[in-house]
């Protein structure tokens, strides 16, 4: 007698979920984790990978496809299949030329500098695309949990994401119908997953080489407080760049054989990308591997073997760049490599043997690799989510803002107001005055970055301060307060001090969605949301009833032998009705059929339980039980 059959008949009562999800929204894949039974756990559906590829495919007709099924379309329909969406978050067209050169997408820009990717003549912002990925992750989490997953979430971003990229991530979550409790930095989240059981003092470095970004964070753990000392990184450096190094090699050699024309073909590019990625992954476990490209329709059958040494030579400069960022992080933290007690590797690309070897050599100690580098960030996000819903008070995360915040001065230089690596939340108040008589407004340009000139930094927005009472030049005393909250997101407020008037601020974000735009997108998605929801519920019920039918049919012999006539008739009747019901797609009718079927199968469940108990006790004396 199988345990599963009994379980199906006696639907276990699952306690109401009040928790929050931790979501790692990655460049190449995303996943969710939740705090359960006293520890963070990755949410995976039995028999499937927990990783949802961050890929969206738009078929010519019908709803977009997200995840694994979408990725399979990459070679067949490269222009309708969007990868690496995260690289476009909060970016303008000029920021992503490097990415667009590698990806076969049509891109344009809105008048406010928002990038849009175009498929089948329709334009999508990265926020909308990420929202689709987030929805898929949430749906997968719900399937794994066997009930609707919490809609309160903690989402991770690369530590080196600037304010616009963080805002874009928040907007994506709002579009997906999720409530963001916190945006957490990926390496910091990873340290939570690793250091959870470690209450001792210690300096830790987290080296996070993901699909599209590199981050390094130095932090100190003391009495359960994880205090980030510094963070450095590169939002244009990740596993994709290792693939690209292999692609460059392959393209050179293929062009020599087949001519350069083939290189421009989108299908060829995607196929080559996947072939190079496969080769890279194989090289992490084998000393030699080959790039294998079969495209019969283009008359290409190409193989190229390479060993680790050659791969290391091709990618040396990439690893050099990560180590330069490590040196920067240590310098900012005022630490030397000898003061580091632990090094933690995170991100799929940290599996590359050369990366591991060089990190070990640089820090002079073996890095931690116990946890799955693909999962550790989501696990940490689940820990932070648990803290934020009030479940845990013995651990606290103190994070920093990765980039300095400043104001453009006359002449285009930057006056820094908040230094990089300041612990958040943090605020600073800066005094300003008027330069002309009776001037009633002042313009500000807020930028983020370390460069000296405003044009070299990221523009966060232009602010106009209005409502200053007329007075002689230089008399007004305007205090502008900048506050970076615990999410690393900036707010600005201002006050004219001589008159006591609170000046109003107009914010014109250079990037990101305005509230109105988010509302508009939400409204249009709500139109379909109810239908989508009903359809999904119906589909779930059909599956559930199907499993119940199977279980009952398997045990009909036992039912005939053990049930009274009336119950048996009821059950046979309900079985037929349940089968009938699964032909329909009306959620209400299905729910009714399911409930009815469950009720009538209860006597059978009781009987089976009894049988199991008897079998277990058979041949034993009472004293043995």
């Amino acid at each position: 007698m199988g345990y599963i059959e009994l379980n199906v008949l006696n639907q276990p009562v699952v306690p109401k979920q009040t928790g929050a999800l931790g979501i790692d929204l990655g460049t190449t894949h995303s996943l969710a984790a939740i705090w359960k039974d006293g520890r963070p756990q990755v949410l995976r559906v039995e028999g499937e990978s927990a990783l949802v590829p961050s890929v969206v495919h738009f078929p010519r007709e019908g709803a977009p496809i997200v995840g694994r099924a979408a990725r399979e379309q990459a070679v067949v329909a490269p222009k309708d299949t969007l990868f690496s969406i995260k690289r476009f978050m909060g970016r303008g067209l000029k920021d992503v030329q490097q990415e667009l050169a590698l990806l076969p997408y049509a891109a344009s820009e809105t008048e406010r500098g928002l990038i849009q990717l175009e498929v089948h003549g329709k334009k999508y912002t990265p926020e909308q695309l990420s929202a689709l990925v987030l929805k898929k992750v949430h749906e997968t989490a719900s399937r794994a949990l066997g009930e609707t997953a919490p809609t309160s979430v903690v989402i991770t971003v690369p530590a080196y994401f600037d304010d616009t990229q963080r805002q874009a991530t928040r907007d994506a979550a709002r579009l997906a119908g999720l409530e963001v409790l916190r945006i957490v930095n990926e390496p910091t989240a990873a340290s939570l997953a690793y250091g959870l059981d470690q209450r001792d003092k210690g300096n830790v470095v987290v080296y996070d080489l993901g699909g599209g970004t590199f981050d390094v964070t130095a932090l100190t753990i003391e009495e359960g407080v994880f205090r980030v000392l510094s963070t450095a990184g590169d939002t244009h450096l990740g596993g994709d760049d290792f693939d690209a190094a292999l692609m460059d090699l392959a393209k050179r050699e293929i062009a020599a054989q087949h001519g350069v024309e083939v290189l421009a073909d989108a299908g060829f590019q995607q196929a080559l990308r996947l072939a190079c990625e496969r080769c890279k992954i194989e090289l992490s476990s084998a000393p030699r591997a080959e790039i294998h490209l079969m495209l019969p329709e283009r008359r290409i059958a190409w193989r190229r073997e390479l060993d680790r040494a050659e791969f290391e030579t091709l990618t040396k400069s990439l690893v050099d760049r990560t180590l330069a960022a490590c040196a920067q992080a240590l310098s900012d933290a005022k630490l030397t490599t000898s003061a580091i007690d632990e090094v933690v590797l995170v991100g799929g690309s940290s599996r590359i043997p050369a990366v591991r070897a060089r990190v070990e050599q640089y820090f002079g100690r073996k890095p931690h690799t116990e946890l799955n580098p693909d999962e550790v960030v989501a696990l940490g996000a689940a820990v932070q989510a648990h803290i934020l819903v009030g479940g845990k008070r013995d651990v606290l995360l103190l994070d920093v803002t990765p980039l300095s915040l400043g104001i453009e001065t006359m002449g285009g230089a930057v006056s820094k107001i908040i230094q990089r690596n300041s612990t958040v939340p943090c605020s600073a108040t800066e005094g300003f005055t008027t330069y002309a008589d009776n001037q009633t407004a002042i313009d500000f340009h807020i930028v983020q970055g370390e460069r000296e000139l405003a044009t070299d930094c990221r523009s966060l927005g232009r602010f106009k301060l209005r409502g200053i009472p007329p007075m002689p030049a230089g008399m007004a005393r305007v205090g502008v307060r900048f506050h970076i909250d615990a999410d690393g997101v900036l707010t600005v407020s201002a006050k004219e001090e001589t008159s006591g008037a609170t000046a109003s601020i107009d914010v014109q974000p250079m990037h990101g969605l305005t509230d109105a735009e988010v509302e508009g997108m939400l409204a249009s998605s709500f139109e379909h949301a109810k239908d989508d929801f009903e359809a999904r519920r119906a589909a779930d019920l059909v599956i559930e009833i199907g499993t119940m039918v199977q279980a009952v049919e398997k045990n009909m012999n036992a039912a005939r032998a053990g049930l009274d006539k009336e119950s048996l008739l009821d059950l046979e009747d309900a079985l037929a009705k349940a089968k009938q019901a699964t032909q329909g797609r009306d959620a209400k009718a299905l729910q009714k059929a399911r409930d009815e079927f469950e009720r009538t199968s209860l006597p059978l469940a009781a009987l089976l339980m009894n049988n199991v108990a008897q079998k277990a006790l058979m041949g034993r004396s009472l004293g043995e039980v």
């Binding site: 205090r227 050099d320 330069a324 310098s331 612990t423 958040v424 600073a428 615990a486």
Partner: protein, 163 residues
Amino acid sequence: MTMDPTSLKKRLLQGSRLVHPDFHGADPAARALAEVHSARLNRAYETLADDARRADALVLLLGGPSETVAREMPREFLVEVLEWNEALEEARTSKAWSPAVAQLQNELRTRRADELAAVHTLLSNPLDSSPTQLAQARARLNAVRYLDRALNDIETLRLACGT
């Protein structure tokens, strides 16, 4: 002026446990208040943990001149500054790490420690500090600021050279 970094850190951790927004998320008003207090706590820690910023805050607290009002450095310092500027300029243009730069870095670090020690002596009885002492302390802190900028440039050069 004297501060035990270990106990200061302990105070930061204790304070953070009380006021960090993570523990006050449920109620928007409480969360907003937690943001304000956390930001204040973090600023206080950053000021107190850095010896130069701590001294700067103390001079201001005692009614001494601010760096925007009193910009001069100690007289004997100015001669050295000219020499250092020359050495720094040379290092910046050569864009290479050399034993000479390493030596300059050591020299500047020693001078920084000396200047702060002098400030320390000047403010040893903070409440009895005379205006002259406060002005002298400010001048020495201006020298420290110069040294910090120079040391920062050298550090940038070191990172760029990958040493």
